[in-house]
């Protein structure tokens, strides 16, 4: 029986999108399904560190070596997603000299360029470091925008003929005997680009081979076909600061610990993190003390953080895995390596492999290995090209950066827009139409919003991850409705209203964890704008009872 597609990839995170692109580039017919937006799982919930490998240089040298290799590849193929910030492992007076030495040696053993800076030199690099820092090791850590990277992989896959379906939740695995041949998905609004207020539908998608790349959710998918996949989801908190207090990745140079990293991320800095096993990747407590711990502990390294404004916090769930019987108690001790579970070998069920464990920095290498495995299964001989082929947006990035065209925009807005769009900048920003800034915090113009809408339908959260609009300090209070306005007239009023409500609620979700000081004032202002003047909380258009307009003042003059 002819199948709908050759390979069906489950999961629209970095791994899934990376696999989809790799296989599509090898000429395979690929379909990817994701239950929410791209990056909605763990990919969109990490601190954005492009590892140099330094963090694993003492504890896990295999991972460290792999990190530095992939780090260098991503700088080449994903230039528009990566910021070469550099990183420091900073030692405070109370931190161990022994560990500092081990870290330095470890870096050298793994081929990670490392240089020791005195405390004063480190403070010259990062003036907001504490005055008493002792010394630091400089490594080539970087910052990467996981949203942009993941979306670029998806676009790359689509450019090679793949079908990418977001908001398509897998509700069943299709299994006949010992063979898995596809899935049943529930489309939130029918197949294709998401459109709010459009009825959903279910669809069976059959495939020659299924790749379960759902990370922390891999166990849930496996269970649909009575397969046991022992992922051990582990949560970590990340707190986003309103501005960049540092332009270099700042790591605390001591053995594993919570709250030991600050990553400059786009316009913000992200504090991380914790490591605590949870039973359900969709339902776990998010608590204030975890946020407090980030601020209080990292203030020892960067004291200005104590009084600085945070705009939100979020939690991510690592898809940790260890082979049955290993029995590690502390999740921080579980390996960061990834595992390819071929269910034929493991469970005697053909047609599907699961991929678990691993980390964002090495997503491409993981995708390559799984793609090799799938090709072997399907008897395809084409080789992997992802280590050399730039992602869409990263082609000829150097010429772009040298380019002087500001597209009529103020220079910082032009600079940020070009960084986000990479080599697509001219295609998107060159316009004769009025191109006002829609999100002022992040400097996102109408042209960029419309480009994102053309990619992702009425889903403003998908627009958000593509553009950063509504991710700045007002957390969408001032721009959510202006983003929604751009959906009209492509989408009707009811759709626009539903989409706006969804984005506004999503922004509130993370902002709740930052509600004191300036951000509480911001929240009150946002609430007042949306409820008072716009009356969005009691919108008569959304209310059940009709308003008796004739009973109200019709004018006295």
């Amino acid at each position: 029986m002819a199948r709908d597609t050759e390979v069906l990839v489950l999961g629209g995170g970095s791994t899934g999108c990376g696999i989809a692109r790799d296989l599509a580039m090898r000429g395979l017919e690929v379909t990817l399904v994701e239950r929410g937006n791209l990056t909605d799982g763990t990919t969109g919930r990490m601190h954005g560190l492009l590892h140099s490998g330094g963090r694993y240089a003492v504890s896990d040298q295999a991972s460290a070596t792999e990190c530095i290799e992939e780090n260098e590849i991503l700088r080449d193929i994903a230039g528009h997603c990566v910021e070469e910030t550099g990183g420091l492992f900073v030692q405070r007076p109370e931190d161990s000299d022994e560990y500092f030495r081990e870290k330095l040696e470890g870096c050298r053993e793994c081929g990670i360029p490392a240089r020791v800076l005195s405390g004063a030199e480190a403070r010259e690099v990062e003036p907001y470091l504490a005055e008493d820092v002792k010394r630091a090791i400089e490594v080539p850590d970087g910052a990467v925008d996981p949203f942009r990277l993941c979306v670029a992989n998806a676009i790359g896959a689509e450019n090679h003929g793949a079908r990418v379906e977001t908001h398509a939740e897998v509700i069943d695995l299709l299994r006949e005997g010992d063979d898995i041949y596809g899935v049943e998905v529930r489309h939130e609004s029918g197949p294709g680009k998401r459109t709010h207020a459009t009825p959903g539908a279910t669809e069976e998608i059959t495939a020659d081979y299924v790749v379960n790349a759902t990370g922390a959710w891999a166990g849930q998918i496996g269970a649909m076909a009575d397969l046991e996949v022992e992922v051990r989801p582990s949560k970590g908190v990340m707190t986003i600061m309103n501005v960049r207090q540092v332009d270099t990745v700042i790591n605390r140079c001591r053995p594993k610990g919570d709250a030991d990293i600050v990553v400059p991320h786009e316009t913000t800095a992200i504090l991380g993190t914790t490591d605590e096993e949870v039973s359900d990747p969709d339902d776990y407590p998010e608590e204030g003390w975890e946020v407090d711990q980030m601020i209080d502990t990292l203030s020892e390294l960067v004291p200005i953080l104590e009084e600085a404004r945070t705009i939100r916090s979020f939690w991510g769930v690592r898809p940790l895995y260890e082979p049955p019987g290993t029995g590690t108690q502390d999740p921080t001790d579980i390996t960061r390596d990834f595992f390819l579970l071929d269910h034929t070998d493991r469970d005697g069920v053909s047609g599907m492999s699961s991929i678990v464990g691993g980390k964002f920095t090495t997503y491409r290498a993981m995708a390559e290995e799984i793609s090799d495995h799938v090709c072997e299964k399907l008897g395809v001989t084409a080789g992997c090209a992802t280590a050399d082929e730039p992602l869409p947006g990263s082609e000829n990035i150097e010429t772009l950066e040298a380019g002087m065209d500001d597209f009529g925009l103020r220079s910082p807005v032009a600079r940020r827009s070009k960084q986000r769009l990479g080599s697509r900048a001219s295609e998107v920003l060159e316009t004769d139409d009025a191109n006002p800034v829609i999100c002022q915090c992040e400097g996102v113009t109408r042209a960029e919003i419309r480009d994102a809408v053309s990619q992702s339908g009425s889903d403003l959260n998908a627009v958000r991850i593509r553009t950063r609009a509504s991710m700045g300090n007002c957390q969408g209070g001032f721009c959510c409705q202006n983003m929604a306005n751009e959906l009209h007239p492509t989408y009707d009023e009811e759709t626009v209203r539903a989409s706006l409500d969804e984005l506004f609620q999503e922004r509130w979700k993370g902002e709740r964890h930052a509600l004191w000081g300036e951000q509480l004032s911001q929240a009150m202002l946002n609430y007042a704008l949306h409820a008072t003047t716009m009356n969005r909380d009691r919108d008569p258009a959304s209310a059940e009872a009709a308003v008796d307009f004739a009973a109200f003042d019709g004018g006295g003059r």
Binding site: N242, A308, S411, P412, C441
Partner: protein, 442 residues
Amino acid sequence: MSDAEQPTDDGVPGDDEFEPIQVFPEAEDMDLRPGADDCYKCSTCDTNCPVAEVDDEFPGPKFQGPEQWRLKRQDDRDIDDSVMKCSNCMRCDSACPSDVPLSQMHNTARGEYVEEQMEKFSREYVRNRILANYRRLAPLGSMFPRTTNFVMGLSATQWLGEKVLGITGEREFPEFATETFREWWTARGGAQVRNEDKRIAYFHGCYSNYNTPEVGKALVRVYEHLGYEIMVPDQHCSGTPMFANGMLEDARRSAETNVRELGAAIADGADIVASCSSCSMSLRQEYPELFDFEGTEEVAANTWDAVEYLRVHEDLEGELEGTSVGDEFENFAYHAPCHARNQGLDGQTMEVLAPIDGVEARDVGDSCSGISGTYGWKAENYETSMKIGDEMFDHMEDADAETGLTECPTCSMQMEHGTGYEITHTLEVLEAALVGTEADSQ
């Protein structure tokens, strides 16, 4: 304390110091991104910007300040060139309901722009440097005031200014006094009152010294009348025109001298008073925001507006109750300078003049005069400057008055330029009320 000498520096164009050479300045390198933490995007600052209202090339203080800073990475060197359109009126500072350090952000960004991005041999740079360093030119004019006044008034000179330097030919250059304030002070033998308990050091600034010494004389007479011992320390330009032109290194040199000299006066038991609202603004707010010489904070905390000082330290209302002034003063159209407004002094003059018989003052509203120091002198800004000033001119003409009143020398130029009125300083009215208008016998 010698307080009667000439100003210490008589540098004129051509001095080494005036060459466009900059050593590593600190203020330009300040990381003000954390200041964006206070912004909640309400745009109140934008609605107060007199430039954005008349010129949409200027994107307003919210963009120039917290937004531009927040978008910045350490190594970025692309301050938007519109920062040069900011007139440094600083109205955004007192507008912001949330303590964003807007003018500090603008001053620093402008300094960085001039340092990193402006062509050092461009006409704009040279012109701005000259305007910013008015005080260095002034002694030259003042040496031969009549000749200078004549030459500056020639249409050929104005043409030259406009074509060669981009200084507007629409304005008349300020006249130089035949005797500077400091010359007068020396000639009268310095302080005439000695009082250990009530001592002030007068920061006269450039304009009262070279152009309107009658303001400085009025201050001396009023303060001596109230029993104060006056010191007149050595001093440089307050820095206001330098901040506005992004010449932070020039400003730093001047500030260093001022902080040292004024700090010494404070050590001698004096408080600092200034008659020019931009000078007091600079010492009080911009110095501590941009510099960290020893004593900067102390100078800032001990500096006062000259009228404000008397209000707080004397029963000024009681002193003025029942006083009157002669026919010389009747009805005033009063304009509160932006830099006075920023110090919470906008209502002060109206309140102080109320008890004096024979004076009616009418506040012409809260608009900006539009000149903002050197801003309105630039040919490219002249039209914008006059557009901003329109509202004030209209209100001045609506007020039942033929004389203008203000505390800022450049506002005063603009008021005169826009209406043809003669402009007086508040201290001159106080002098008339408290001391009488007869010339000081010295």
